[in-house]
């Protein structure tokens, strides 16, 4: 196993050639450990790793690293998220060392939503580094055993490095190049933005495959089941970089009262079936927002259980 970069479960699953299945868990708006444990419990054994979000949508929550360590204690492998909005390079590196010391082995590097969207729009933002530079820095820390300034690290953090890709943001033609850039910077795996526009995603993946990106990096397709018509409309209008086709909103609306959530899950299941066969994809990243308890059922119906033991 010496050729593993981090030895995380997620890395082992992907390296063994299994179709990965990752989940997500947003930390609580407070120090409510029981609440966090309750949210994480249904994910145990059902997914290969769980993304722990970092003040997502710029709303203050329990820190990503602390919530990640709690998940670890619960027997759930975390994928620690870090955004560039809230920390400078000193804080970033120190937190990276900290999470590794606590046993965390996966890390997702993100720019982060602008604070204007969150509950502290008055805040000063940092963006000392951008997500590309963060990826590169984590790789340098891991592979060269050096801080950003070149100083030696006493026990370097061996992390499996993740990054995000949004195929639906503009300019569309540049998106696959940006993905390539993240891979060159050091990303081992990619989790995409929630996919709803399948036509556009097929086109994106074809470009990625043509460029051979899937051979350099594991690409996981982002899936978020729609719980309601309101959620679909909110995502379409309010969430930056989200592409929700009108046809999907129509389909959900057509499901009728009390049946929208099931229709949303059905759509996700259809997507997952297609993703399993789609060239270039190495797995699914299921972001069931505040719906963690439904993940076991979705996983079961998607035919991704049991998860491989590696």
């Amino acid at each position: 196993m010496t050729d593993l970069k981090s030895g995380s479960n997620l890395e082992k699953v992907l390296k063994a050639g299994h179709f990965a299945f990752t989940g997500e868990c947003g930390p609580p708006k407070g120090s409510n450990v029981e609440h966090l444990k309750k949210k994480a419990a249904p994910l145990k054994g059902v997914v290969d790793a769980v993304n722990v979000t970092d003040n997502q949508t710029a709303v203050v929550r329990m820190s990503s690293w602390a919530a990640s360590t709690i998940l670890l204690q619960e027997g759930v492998e975390p994928n620690f998220q870090m955004v560039c909005r809230d920390r400078n390079r000193l804080a970033m590196q120190s937190d990276i060392l900290g999470v590794y010391a606590m046993g965390i082995r996966n890390m997702l590097c993100l720019s982060g939503d602008h604070q204007r969207f969150g509950n502290h729009p008055e805040a000063k933002n940092v963006y000392d580094l951008d997500s590309m530079q963060l990826i590169s820095m984590v790789k340098k820390m891991r592979d060269e055993g050096q801080f950003l300034n070149g100083e030696e690290i006493d026990v370097p953090p061996k992390l499996f490095i993740g990054a995000a890709s949004n195929p639906f943001a503009d300019p569309f033609e540049f998106r696959v190049h940006r993905l390539a850039k993240k891979i060159n910077a050091g990303a081992d795996f990619i989790q995409t933005q929630c996919i709803y526009n399948m036509d556009k995603f097929r086109e994106f993946m074809k470009m990625a495959v043509d460029m051979g990106l899937h051979e350099k990096c594991y690409i996981l397709a982002g899936v978020t089941p729609m719980k309601s018509v309101g959620m679909a409309q909110y995502m379409a209008k309010m969430v930056p970089g989200m592409d929700v086709p009108e046809s999907l909103v129509k389909r959900l609306r057509g499901a009728g009262k009390g049946k929208v959530a099931e229709e949303g899950i059905k759509f996700s299941l259809e997507q997952i079936e297609e993703f399993k066969e789609m060239e270039g994809l190495a797995g699914i990243h299921l972001m069931a927002i505040e719906w963690e308890h439904r993940v076991p059922e979705i996983a079961e119906r998607a035919g991704v259980l049991p998860r491989p033991k590696v």
Binding site: Y127, D128, D130, S131, Q133, A164, R178, K181, N184, G241
Partner: protein, 222 residues
Amino acid sequence: MIVADRKPLKELLEMVEDCDKVLILGCKGCVTVCNVGGSKEVGILALTLKIARKKEGRLLEVSEKTLERQCDPEYVDEVKDIVDGYDAVISMACGVGPQFLSERYPEKRILPAVDTTFFGGAVQHGIWEERCAGCGACGIHHFGGLCPIARCAKSLLNGPCGGSADGKCEISKDVDCIWDMIVTKKMKEGRLDELLMLRPPKVWTTARDGGPRKSVREELVQ
């Protein structure tokens, strides 16, 4: 130029609440060009303050003067014989002016009448936009002559982020995504490969992060 906006009247009235006699000092530099602190605006503010105070039943005596520049000791000196006659001096220059005044006249209360906003220019009559963040190490030649430090909401050097849509920034439909402009320009020029290389972390020591800055030109120092 340096762009500024005039402070709301309410805020200015609170500043001069205990004053009976003030001097409003305009500046013929940037704030004249951006129509916020030149002699015309000095006149308007003087009149506005007087009327507002008259309504309150307490008269305010206001004098007006506009200096060549307030960021130059030579011109700031010009009011040395008159400042003593006022309870306070209201500067309509950018943030530099009231500070030069405060340093030259340490005993005097100096009040800012404008909020200094950014380095920019007029994109059309009456509308100014930010262009430069004054980071102390210009690198716009790497980005098609456009500055992502000043104009990207996240100052990304390897953009665009996932929030760019239809050429607009995720923070507002009124804000152009500068990275969309950079990418489009490079693509048109057939120089996209220049954007595919990782731009390293910015050295912020030359920016405000390195502490207050100073520029010394030896050949000019006497």
